[in-house]
Symmetry: C2
Subunit: 512 residues, 2 copies
């Protein structure tokens, strides 16, 4: 058995059966091993940013890392932006990065690079394997790191000769370790805060955003008269009819301050302290008022469900069914508005849809209009590095087959990872992409307005995507994804209803 | 004057008047300053890989760095693969990377990242500016580093508050330092080697690949009976009628060994010692035979023209006109072959064309067929990180207006940087892109064959781009670039002749 074969066997033994790949010459023995050993689903992506973004969403939907297959430092680098996003989403990813053979590396051939240096800023774990005999154990250690709750980026560098040499050994991977539960004293302290009569806000993030912990948090909040909010950009949020209705911390800084105005206590449940996305001249970066107490019920690395159940019990808070969101709306008609798009989604998304939200500025109002939709998951861009939406849709569809993925995608952001549409077509993924074609970097137009008055030609040109217009139907068609253009809500309804009713990908260019 | 204004003024004073940009929120003050201060050409790119690849080619054509404008660590990361290529091409690039405000950074907002860590693997110089008052001096130091002969990647990290605060100071940039000339003893030692009667090969690279130094090298080689070869992937090579005809070191390792077989002395002129691109089981990585002497006449950081002139003088080698390449070929007809494509290029390229060669495996035979073309420059992918061709075409066209750029582009490679076509359309650049659509990663099919016999379905699928077929005319059309498909040399000739005769970009999908 060569090193590459021990790698594949060790991954399979650890339950890792999906690899998102963009291979090169130095990974040919890995590819050959995948060929010889059955059981691994290999998903070819034409750009590494698709590879890593797909692995992020795959983890969010399955709770299990995928492997990535990347070619040398530059191939890894192309995937770093979405590894940043995956890191912020606390997704587990097992990166396998091929590299020059151990003895070839000192010759500094053109593709030689500082792979560790490129990996470290986004990886919790980086290892370079030294020989074929060590590959199996190194893979097992990498998998263990990736699985560390709630999930980490773990990167293994695989010199070509460690893959092709004989002497590979399959290694056992340790079972994933269950997350810790908050201490009883912490539960009691939180209960005391919730009973002291001061204005309190429960802020939920990460693993607290599932259906069960959110219901417990909602029951507690109602019982104690506390507010309930969600972190700004959930990695995965259980939503829709029968689930708790709650709003996120808004992106605009002044709206963020407003959420916490008058709050004296914030209890964090797997969330981090609320700060603004960027700094602005003369404004604070911390969103909570001065003097507001921040109390950590559970960290992102702990068990949110157990903490909230214990807290509810301690408080004697009865389990409450979520509020009725009212009737499911009908599909709306007329001109396109953000509220209309949300209503169309609520009316037409199938049960258990997976919504990928990289709508950026256009999508800020999508939440209120979709509470009455059927139960669904909502996945956001957590790290703020735009261009992950199309790859997330790839990974979500592969991680949760049988469920329709609907990707709400800003046009500017989509341009970073277009190639993912090809993988959607190749793998016949059930993805409906709605391009919100406003033909500008709308978020920057807003940000620039905050900077100074009267932007001129140069500045406006830097945010303008209308010269030339991007033709999304042609772009999708060029990748093998059928598409339609919609200039009204009526047209959106027709295209959306048709796309969710048939298998495979579809793209809707929505002229907003 | 705020920090951002001092930045723009300092760049302009240093003669840097072009910025390739993909800005975000943290760069809004820089954008506002570009708006207020005339003189900077701002080129919007929709993906940072286009930004950095364009800056690479701009330097190759102008000898002057462009600035890049990148958004935080992830934006920089998206540009790292082409910064790797630019570093290998020894291009000078001034990266300006916006980041969180100094006081906001400790709050670890979502887009916060280890920007220095991402920059260092590809940068010779990295600095984080600390205050508005230091921006000007830091920019000047960054420019000086980028200009250090033959060119370096220099990265300045600009926290948002250093851009928006008042107190900016315009700084003087020191004049570029001329490269050193080889010592007289080195010249004499090289002359002695060339007279000792042993089989000798002159290997030219970097700055030795201009018209004048190549002619001197050719004269020396003829005078002394030495062989003349070029490095594998020139950053910029002067070619065509009236220029020296020479071949590169071939990519396939066995062909590389063959070039040096029997050679006892290699004299490097601004080239690095010849090694194989990758290692292969049981084969040496150094291409020269054991015992072959490697002598450095001039390093990549030295003046090749001066060294070769001194050597020619020392040897008494008379200046020789390059060999006559024979008549310019007629445009060929019939089925598409690599030789036919080269002949069509030779027949139809205009005077002073700029050829961008990311043809990868398909283009290995393009050189012999194009010696009789009109004088032109040939730019290759130096660092081996595929996906730079479309961005290189952007930067070359902006750096050398009035000259037609013809990009020979593998289809697999093109998928990494498609968005560059949009910038070609927006800026109305005179670029003809020829997509060599073989619908596979052909180079990997060859590499896999070297690994083991009978690749199976899984392995072949990982190299197959035909499911679905990429429709390049739709992809180009979607970005505003007109396109045509060619399935014969006759059709290629028609499309190529038409495209070079009219301004603006055009794309030819060549079904090879």
């Amino acid at each position: 058995m060569n090193g590459a074969e021990s790698l594949v066997h060790t991954l399979l033994q650890a339950g890792i059966d999906t690899v998102f790949a963009n291979p090169g010459t130095s990974e040919m023995h890995f590819v050959a091993a995948l060929d010889r050993i059955p059981g691994m689903r290999c998903v070819l992506c034409l750009d590494e940013t698709v590879v890593t973004g797909a692995a992020d969403a795959y983890y969010r939907m399955t709770g299990k890392p995928a492997a990535t297959l990347l070619h040398c430092g530059p191939g890894l680098a192309n995937g770093v932006a979405n590894l940043h996003n995956a890191r912020r989403a606390r997704s587990g990813v097992v990166n396998i990065v091929g590299d020059q053979a151990t003895y070839h590396r000192p010759l500094d051939a053109p593709l030689t690079s500082n792979v560790e240096g490129i990996a470290r800023p986004v990886s919790a774990f980086v290892r370079r394997t030294e020989s074929a005999a060590s590959v199996g154990a190194d893979v097992a250690a990498t998998v263990a790191a990736a699985r560390r709750f709630p999930g980490q980026i773990a990167t293994l560098i695989l010199p070509a000769d460690t893959a092709w040499e004989e002497g590979g050994v399959i290694a056992q991977t340790s079972a994933p370790v269950a997350p810790e539960t908050a201490a009883q004293t912490t539960i009691e302290a939180a209960a005391a805060l919730l009973r002291n009569g001061r204005p309190t806000l429960l802020l939920l993030g990460g693993a607290a955003l599932g259906e069960v912990p959110m219901r417990a948090a909602w029951s507690i909040a109602r019982h104690c008269g506390a507010k309930l909010r969600l972190e700004r950009s959930p990695a995965r949020l259980a939503r829709g009819r029968g689930r708790v209705q709650a709003e996120r911390i808004p992106y605009p800084i002044d709206q963020g301050f407003a959420v916490f105005a008058g709050t004296e206590q914030v209890i964090l449940i797997n969330a981090t302290p609320p700060v603004s996305f960027f700094a602005y001249p003369g404004k604070r970066g911390v969103l909570t008022p001065e003097g507001c107490e921040i109390f950590v019920l559970s960290t992102p690395e702990q068990d949110a469900t157990a903490a909230l159940a214990a807290l509810a019990q301690r408080l004697g808070a009865p389990d409450l069914p979520p509020a009725d969101p009212g009737p499911r709306p009908d599909a709306p008609q007329g001109a396109i508005t953000p509220e209309g798009v949300a209503q169309s989604l609520a009316a037409l998304m199938p049960e258990q849809a997976i919504i990928i939200d990289e709508a950026i500025s256009y999508g800020r109002g999508f939440f209120p209009g979709t509470h009455a939709a059927p139960p669904h998951d909502w996945l956001m861009l957590v790290g703020g590095a735009i261009g992950e939406g199309i790859p997330l849709a790839v990974g979500a569809a592969i991680g949760a087959p049988g469920r329709r993925v609907i990707a709400l995608q800003g046009d500017g952001s989509a341009m970073y990872s277009l190639a993912g549409l090809w993988t959607q077509a190749r793998e016949r993924l059930d993805v409906t992409t709605i391009i919100l074609a406003n033909r500008k970097y709308a978020i920057l137009v807003g940000e620039l307005a905050g900077v100074g008055a009267n932007p001129g030609r140069t500045a406006l040109d830097m945010m303008d995507l209308s010269n030339p217009v991007l033709d999304w139907c042609q772009l999708a068609g060029g990748m093998g994804v059928p598409a339609a253009r919609a200039a009204s809500l009526d047209a959106l309804n027709v295209a959306l209803a048709a796309s969710v009713a048939r298998p495979g990908p579809f793209l809707i260019e929505l002229l907003v």
